[in-house]
Each structure stands twice: as structure tokens, then as C-alpha cells.
Symmetry: C2
Subunit: 159 residues, 2 copies
Amino acid sequence: EKLLVSGVTLKSDDARVSLNDIPDRPGIAAEVFHALAAQNINVDIIVQSTGKDNKNTISFTIPHKDLKQAREILELLLKNWGTGSASFDENIAIVSAVGVGMKSHSGVAASMFKSLADAGINIEMISTSEIKISCVIAKDRGREALQIVHDVFGLTQTA
Amino acid sequence: EKLLVSGVTLKSDDARVSLNDIPDRPGIAAEVFHALAAQNINVDIIVQSTGKDNKNTISFTIPHKDLKQAREILELLLKNWGTGSASFDENIAIVSAVGVGMKSHSGVAASMFKSLADAGINIEMISTSEIKISCVIAKDRGREALQIVHDVFGLTQTA
Ligand SMILES: C[C@@H](O)[C@H](N)C(=O)O
Ligand SMILES: C[C@@H](O)[C@H](N)C(=O)O
């Protein structure tokens, strides 16, 4: 498989937010991101897997500096829904492999995941498209992960 | 906020696969996608939220035609791990908004999610980056969702 990855990035100033066991019905996701957008809180990755028993969890990352404000917004939503909880983790880094046409990217994903695994780095969250594979990992492994993923794709780290 | 969305796509020939309650330790994600890549099974979106009690769930989409082979591969992995289960859903469509620099894309995500919600379409899975917001929805709402998301971003549907 040709080399499809053109770069690797590291983001260390985001925090993870999870809305756990919230209603899995139309309108919920819209409410969350509308409320955040209204306060100009930028969101990087959003992941949501399939729900169960009409409940679901939405996880996303926002800048550390917006955590306090996000907490207030989300507590209000949770109160209105009458269900669910919010959890936060500031101790994360997002390492991403960027490429073009990674449509057959199960191989690219496998290589990236394997390189992190071999270093004993646990992958906490995953979000992908054909253009980008993002992994959330522990913040203190960020620099190391950036080097590792650069190496596995034969890229020269310039920064 | 300027118009950041340049196009909307619909994919109706993928199926969702979820690996539920699998071990949340380094190497697991690598094993899954290595096994799929070895059989040339293309993966579109991969989502994984944060784990709990050392267990996690990884969901992803693959072409319908690869379901049978994927099942065999995954059953073998589950057997080796001695824990977890696989679930499948052929009844999905993936609608995606593609854009550039959607860094402040909580607003773009909110608009997309709201447009689907107003039509009563439940969002089953979400995977995003600054360049793409993908939503997994029921297959029979696919065509309608494509039109809806085109409209909310003021795009002309050409196909
Ligand atoms: C959980 C949330 O995504 C919900 N399913 C919605 O459509 O808004
Ligand atoms: C669940 C899976 O992603 C695991 N955390 C890994 O690192 O492989």
C-alpha cells in the first residue's frame, strides 16, 4: 500500500468532555453543540457510538480554557433532560495522522494503532475519516506518540 | 460565521459493526484493524469513546459485501480475548458535511444536527474532524437527510 500519510499533528491543549447516559432521541446532539457554539466554544473531535436502551454517550474535545464555561452550559442541559452526567479529563493529547485518499485506511489505522500499542500507549478515543485518523491518549505520552507515529510512516519530524 | 461547508455526501452501502465490551488495553485496536486490513476490508469511519472498567467499545463501518468475512475475523478475535461481543447493523446510511477550516465547527455541527433533528432523524453515530462531520442514521432516511443537509448549508444538490 502506497504511503498515504502526509503529516502527523499533536494537540495538547484540549480537554475531553463526555456526556454519559443522555437521551438517545432526535435533538439532543443539536442542543449540545448549539449551546457550545453560542458561547463560541470550539470543538475539535466529536465521537458518538451507537446507543443502547434509548441512552447514549457523546464525547468531544474543547480547549482547556473553555472548560469552566462548558461545565456550566452542560450542567444546565443535564438538568433540563433530567438524566445523564458529564465527565471531564484535562489529561489528554490528540495525535492525528493526516493523509489523502486513505479510503483503504484500515491498513493505515492498523499501523498507527500498532505503533502506539508497541509503546504501551493506550488509545482512549478514536475518530477517523479518509483524510484523518485521530487518537486521544494520555497527555504525558503526547510528544512520544508524535515521534512514534512520524516514524512508523517514514516522515521527518520538522518541529 | 462564513459558509464553511462545501459539499454533502451520502453513503448507503456500508454496514455498522460494533465490538462491545472488549479489553481497553494497548494493542486491541491494532489487532482489529490489522485483521481487517489483511483481508483488504475497507473501513470508512471508526469511532471509539472513552472506556470504563477496563472495557471499551469500538464501532466502525465497512461495505455490506464484506460483512460475512468481517464476522468470521471478529468472532476469532473475540474468542482469543475471551470477552466481548460483536453486533452488526446493515440498515444504515452515512451522511457527511465536508468543508475546510471548520475549526469553529461546533456551529456547523449544531446546524447539521439540528436540521436532522427537525426531520425527526435520530443520529446513531458521530465522527468529526475540522474537514468533515459524519452522521450515521437509518438507511431509509438517507436520501431525505442528504437533501436536508444540502438545504441547511444553502448548497445546490447536483446529483
Ligand atoms: C445522542 C444524540 O446524538 C441523539 N441520538 C440525537 O440525534 O441528537
Ligand atoms: C479499545 C482499544 O482502543 C484499546 N484502548 C487500544 O489501545 O487498543
